[in-house]
Amino acid sequence: MFQAKARAEVLKEVVNVVSSLVDEAKFSVNADGLTLRAVDPAHIAMVDLSLGKDAFEEFKADETEIGIDIDKLAQFLKLAKSDDIVDLKHDEDKRRLNIVVGDITRRMSLIDTTGMSDPKVPNLKLDAIITIKGEDLIHGIRASETVSDHIALIANPEGFEMSCEGDMDQVHFRKSKKDLVSLESPSSVRSLFPLEYFSNMLKAVSSGTHVVLHLGNDFPVKMEFTIAGGKGAVRYLLAPRIESGD
C-alpha cells in the first residue's frame, strides 16, 4: 500500500534526479519513506536516492515496489505549479498509480519491476572530500560545456580544480581551499569523467545547496547533496573515463 500527498516541487526534484540517468525506475516504498537505486543503460553511473516520509505532506505506506516511467511522470508534473499538492495513490490490483493535481486525475499504468536490478552501493575508497556550493560547481560546468565532452576533477591539499581540455580550447576552474566550504585531500588526485553525465547530475541541485564530492585517483566520483529542503538525500556515482592505454 502506498498513499501520499506531496508538494509538486518535491516530486519534480525527485524526477530531476532520476531522469538524468534512467527512463524507467523502481521506487521502493516502506513506512519510513521511499528509496530508489538505479544504474543507467550505459552502465557508467548510479543513483541512490532516499526521500523521508517527512518530505511529504501526508504519507502512508507498507513495503512495496512501484515501477514508474519517469518521462510520463515528468510530463504530468509539468501541469502542476510548485506549490500545488499532488495526491498519489498506488492501485495494486490494477497496477496503476493514480495521481491527482487539482481537477486532473491521471491513472498511470506502472512498469513491471520484476527483472529490474537492485544495485548495491559499492564501497569505494575515495580519499579526497570536497564540499562546495552548488552554484559554484554549476558555474564551473557551464564554462566547460562547449569545450570538450569530458572533464577532469582534480583535488590537492590546496584546492579543487575542474579542467576541461578540448582539441582547440581549454577551460580551468579553480577554487582554493578558503573558497570552498571544506576540503580534505591528503594527496593529489585526478579523475576524468564524461561531462554530459556530470552536468546532468547537477541538474537537480537547487540553489543554496552544498554538494559533497568524494574523489579518487582514476576512480569513480561520488556526489552527494540533499533535496526537498534537506528531507531527501541523493548520492550519485559516476565511473571515470578510460584514459588511453588501459
Partner: protein, 459 residues
C-alpha cells in the same frame, strides 16, 4: 507460462557453445587481446544466419571473463542518439554493473557492448545510426561485438566497418551437433525422446539450433515421453509448401483468430507476406465486392507496414498482420471459395528484382548529379533525370560539360544516353572530358587558385 528453453539453456561459457569451433577460437583470441590494454581491433562482427549461436557466444564470452554486458537489440529504441548515449559514452568509460559493482579497466574488467541485429539497426533513411556505430568503435576503449545476419547490408550502410572491425563467420550447425544439444536438454527436463525423433527435429531445423530447441519445447510441452509420430506436427520449416498451406488455411479461415494463427509460424517478414497475399487474392476471390473489400483491407495493412518502417515503430506490424490476414480472409461475404492448388510467387518481387540493374544505375546517376542540381536524389530521379537524359542525347556539349563537373563514370554516361557502355559515343565523350579536365589540372598548377573569399582590399 514455462520459461523459454532457448534462454534457459543458453550456454554459460564459450566452452559450452556447440559447433563453430573456429569462430569461437577467433572470439577467444580477440578477447585475450584485451588483457593488456586496448587492442587495435576493438570490434568484431559476428555474422551468420539466425539461431546458430552468435548472441549466445557473445554472452558466454562475457560470463567467462566476468565482463559486464551492455546489450542493445532491435527491440530497444535505437537511433543515432541512443547509440551515442549508451554504446558511445558507455564504451569510453569504466563500469558500474547492474548489481552496483565498480569494474575498473585497470584490473582488466571490461564492459562488453553487444549491438545485436546490427544490420537492422537503422531504418532505410537513418544514416546517422550507421555513423554512430562507426564513431563508437573509433572512440571506444571497451570491447564491442556487432551481430548481424546480413553482413553485406551492414557494411553497405557503414563501409568503414570493414576496416574497423574483423568479421567472424558463424555457420549453420550440423544436425548431429543439434542432436547432442537436444538430448542434453531432454535429459534435463526428464523427457524420454528417442534419438531418431531428435534426429528428425534436428534435420528439420535446417541448421538452426534455436528453431530446433523451440520445436522440441513445443512438442514436449507437458509430456514426459515422445514418439516419432509426434514430430509430424512440426511440418517443414522454411518451405514453400508450408507457405502455401498457411495461405490456404488463412483464406479458409472463418474467424479473426484462425486467420491470424494460420500465418503465425511462417518465417516471413510481414511485408513479404503481404506481397504473397496480394498475389493470391485474385485467385482466391472472384466476387467483385469481395475483391474490393479484400484489397481495401490489404491497403490498410500496407499503411501500417509503411508507417512501421518509416517510424521504425515495429509494434505496428501486429496491426498490419491482422489486417492482411483476417481483414483479407473475412472479406469473403458472398462468393464461393474456388479451389486453389498453388499460390504464385509475388509478381511484384519478380518485377522489382528484374529491374534491379536499372534501379541501381539510376541511383548511381542520381546520387552523383543531385548535389550538382541542388536537390535531393529522389527529386532528381523523379523530375529531372528523364528530361535531362532526353536533352543529353541531343546535346553532346552539355554531356561533356556535365562529365567534367561531376564524377559520372562511363556506365552512368551510357545509361544517360541509352547506349552501351563500351560504345564509341561513350569513349569519344570520355576522351573529350579527359582533355578538358587535363587542361584544368595544368592550369591549376600554373596559377595557384585564389582563396574562395575575396579580400577587403578588392572592394
Amino acid at each position: 507460462m514455462q520459461e523459454d528453453w532457448t534462454e534457459k539453456y543458453r550456454p554459460r561459457s564459450l566452452s559450452q557453445v556447440v559447433g563453430n569451433e573456429s569462430a569461437i577460437r577467433a572470439i577467444r583470441r580477440w578477447a585475450e587481446s584485451w588483457a593488456h590494454g586496448v587492442p587495435k581491433v576493438k570490434a568484431l562482427i559476428l555474422k551468420g544466419e539466425p539461431g546458430i549461436g552468435k548472441t549466445s557466444s557473445a554472452l558466454a564470452l562475457a560470463y567467462d571473463l566476468k565482463w559486464d554486458v551492455v546489450e542493445m537489440n532491435a527491440s530497444d529504441h535505437r537511433n543515432a542518439e541512443s547509440i551515442k548515449k549508451v554504446a558511445g559514452i558507455g564504451s569510453m568509460t569504466q563500469t558500474f554493473t547492474l548489481d552496483g559493482e565498480f569494474l575498473s579497466s585497470h584490473s582488466g574488467r571490461r564492459k562488453l557492448i553487444i549491438l545485436d541485429e546490427a544490420d537492422n539497426l537503422f531504418g532505410r533513411e537513418d544514416y546517422g545510426g550507421a555513423k554512430a556505430i562507426v564513431d563508437t568503435i573509433r572512440e571506444s576503449s571497451q570491447p564491442i561485438l556487432l551481430i548481424a545476419n546480413d553482413y553485406y547490408e551492414l557494411t553497405r550502410r557503414a563501409s568503414a566497418l570493414k576496416r574497423l572491425a574483423t568479421s567472424v563467420t558463424f555457420r549453420r550447425l550440423d544436425p548431429s551437433a543439434i542432436v547432442v544439444v537436444l538430448r542434453s536438454i531432454a535429459e534435463n527436463e526428464n523427457v524420454t525422446v528417442s534419438l531418431d525423433t531428435l534426429g528428425k527435429i534436428a534435420s528439420n531445423a535446417g541448421g538452426d539450433l534455436r528453431a530446433a530447441i523451440n520445436d522440441l519445447q513445443m512438442i514436449v510441452e507437458g509430456r514426459s515421453h515422445l514418439d516419432a509420430e509426434d514430430t509430424d506436427v512440426l511440418g517443414e520449416r522454411n518451405q514453400e509448401k508450408e507457405l502455401s498451406r498457411a495461405l490456404g488455411a488463412m483464406f479458409g479461415a472463418k474467424t479473426v483468430r484462425e486467420a491470424q494463427d494460420a500465418t503465425l509460424n511462417l518465417d516471413k517478414m510481414p511485408d513479404e507476406l503481404e506481397k504473397w497475399i496480394e498475389e493470391s487474392i485474385p485467385s482466391e476471390m472472384k466476387d467483385p465486392e469481395d475483391l474490393a473489400r479484400a484489397f481495401d483491407a490489404l491497403s490498410r495493412s500496407n499503411i501500417y507496414l509503411r508507417r512501421a518502417r518509416a517510424l521504425q515503430h515495429y509494434g505496428m506490424w501486429s496491426y498490419a498482420r491482422t489486417m492482411m490476414t483476417a481483414g483479407v480472409a473475412l472479406s469473403r461475404k458472398s462468393g464461393r471459395r474456388p479451389h486453389v492448388s498453388e499460390y504464385r510467387f509475388p509478381s511484384f518481387l519478380i518485377v522489382m528484382s528484374r529491374a534491379k540493374g536499372t534501379r541501381a544505375s539510376r541511383k548511381s546517376i542520381s546520387s552523383k548529379l543531385a548535389p550538382y542540381f541542388h536537390t535531393s536524389s529522389r527529386m532528381f530521379d523523379e523530375s529531372i533525370l528523364p528530361y535531362l537524359s532526353k536533352l543529353l542525347t541531343k546535346d553532346r556539349e552539355l554531356m561533356v560539360k556535365l562529365g567534367c563537373e561531376t564524377e559520372l563514370d562511363d556506365g552512368d554516361i551510357s545509361n544517360l544516353l541509352h547506349v552501351d557502355s563500351d560504345s564509341s559515343i561513350v569513349k569519344a565523350i570520355r576522351a573529350e572530358i579527359i582533355a578538358i579536365k587535363g587542361e584544368d589540372e595544368v592550369m591549376r598548377k600554373k596559377t595557384p587558385r585564389r582563396k574562395s573569399g575575396r579580400s577587403l582590399a578588392e572592394f
